[in-house]
Symmetry: C2
Subunit: 327 residues, 2 copies
């Protein structure tokens, strides 16, 4: 057998509740190929791990490379992760509890695997690649089905005492506010996630308010997506405008809370809601945050939307894999 | 002139809106003497600085020491402080703006002076002296006329990008809630400070609710103090009980926000409200925080009231002075 070249390629994986995204990166962290597969979490842990392995193989093969050239895989999972053992401790969207993701994936691929929380990894990707590691203190906020985030302090991902820091979606912004999936009321996630936005629109429609969304999707608003909101806004829909504005204001208040308490240099927003509604939301978020931040706290602080979009997570995966396999 | 001994004594000063507290400490940070003076901020910056100098001289003299034995002074001011220049950038309670506290006090006392925000300094005092520097990540929350705090991350006081981190009192907990002194609504301070508690009691009395406080203080509740609330509670006053419970619940939700977002190992509560009402409030704060913290985030985390009471700030001042004068 011919001598293989030294493994230098890095792979980042973003494991979500509905889809698996894998990205192949050069040693300089340039993305050269992606592959996507549905998660099918109902088939159970082993089946999902096999799908992740397949997704990685597909991406590597598509890039005309082979697995022997891959130095490490960094993977973000939607839940609490133990970065030392690589186990996923708890991922409600996948139905996983104490699942040995690293161990099983390494046995399938024979490549070192490193795991993290998905939003931590997306924050790391934005920090290291998009912002070239510049901000010393940064926070990433990702608005999608839920709201998650990650903290960079002194240039490094911050885990806190139980390595669970960054559960920003469950910061209460409105005591007694709308019910959250976590069981509490008035969490940031219950006010500004896609789920929260859809809930408010559906409630208003039930109350007899008009929206073009019912023309587009039928009166039950089945299969509503963030992109539909953007279409409705471009058609001048007043209801959608109001609900999206409210979500942006809550997000701005959350950002101000972080400026007041943490005082990071950069606050990055991402996730499906921001991807779809950046033009509509970012100016309201920034204006509200500056309004709620205490005098003197916000000077020079940047609030921006990531340009990595859906790929923030895989970028972070590649960063993690490179950092952990550094010789 | 006789050779003086090497200066080893440390002085901590807590500068408040109404009083100045100075403490004399051994090199091992044991408090040996305190002195107190009213601030009289209406007399202006120079007069207050002279009063601080007098308070320091009084404390040192009372301890049978002289100023030449003092190695450094650490002083906490109620507002935004530039720890490099030693200027107080903004202290609304004192009416100060860009006031050269370090420079003026050094010229009066000929001893090196180091400045910090008062709540940062109190947090530092609790961390270094009461908790012997043990927690790697800690938050201090001080409930008095307002609500302030400080962050210890990786064992060090954390300032963030603009050195204003720790403005915990202006974390919004209830969008659209009661008006705060900062101009916003629903801040932690507007829900759980002494000011907020008194406001709720006064509002209820105006609405015709009964309380023993009106017997104790007259119908206008003039000069109400935190200690009066404790007396009323011990007499079984239902109104005061309800208002104090609400404030404790809001505080518990704030603590949960910090557990979810930051995940510190220890959360320390202090300030006049906690000093006076520790027995009544701490169990509600802890229970509410544990209820609102996400599953898995609060394991092993301690929530405690400082035993340093009013002296937390001067302890922090001594810690700061020792750290900055270390040869």
């Amino acid at each position: 057998m011919a001598e293989t070249t030294k493994p230098e390629i890095l792979v980042g994986v973003d494991l979500g509740g509905t889809k698996i995204l894998a990205g192949v990166f050069t040693p300089q962290l340039k993305l050269i190929q992606t592959a996507k597969l549905s998660t099918k979490s109902d088939r159970g842990f082993e089946a999902v791990v096999e799908r992740i392995a397949r997704c990685v193989r597909d991406a590597v093969d598509e890039a005309d490379l082979n697995l022997k050239q891959v130095r490490g895989i960094g993977i973000g999972a939607p839940g609490a992760v133990d970065p030392d053992t690589g186990d996923v401790l708890f991922a409600p969207n996948l139905g996983w509890k104490n699942s040995p993701l690293k161990k099983r994936l390494e046995s399938l691929l024979s490549i070192p695997v490193f795991t993290e929380n998905d939003c931590n990894l997306a924050t790391l990707g934005v920090h290291e690649i998009e912002l070239k590691g510049r901000p010393r203190h940064m926070i990433g906020l990702f608005l999608g089905t839920g709201v998650g985030g990650g903290l960079i302090l002194d240039g490094k991902l911050f885990g806190g005492f139980n390595r669970t820091a960054g559960e920003v979606g469950h910061m209460v912004l409105q005591v007694g506010g709308p019910k959250c999936g976590c069981g509490n009321n008035g969490c940031f996630e219950a006010l500004a996630s896609r789920t929260a936005i859809f809930r408010e629109i559906q409630k208003a429609v039930k109350d007899g308010q008009k929206t073009v969304l019912t023309e587009m999707l039928g009166s039950d608003l089945a299969d509503m997506k963030s992109g539909d909101l953007r279409k409705a806004l471009r058609r001048g829909d007043k209801l959608v405008e109001k609900v999206v504005e409210d979500a942006a204001e809550y997000t701005g208040i959350a950002v101000a809370n972080f400026i007041n308490v943490f005082n990071p240099e950069v606050i990055v927003l991402g996730g499906g809601v921001i991807d779809a509604l950046e033009d509509e939301m970012m100016s309201i978020i920034t204006e509200t945050a500056m309004d709620y931040a205490m005098a003197g706290t916000s000077k020079g602080i940047e609030i921006l939307a990531t340009k990595l979009g859906d790929n923030a997570g895989i970028h972070g995966g590649a960063v993690l894999a490179r950092a952990r396999t550094r010789s």
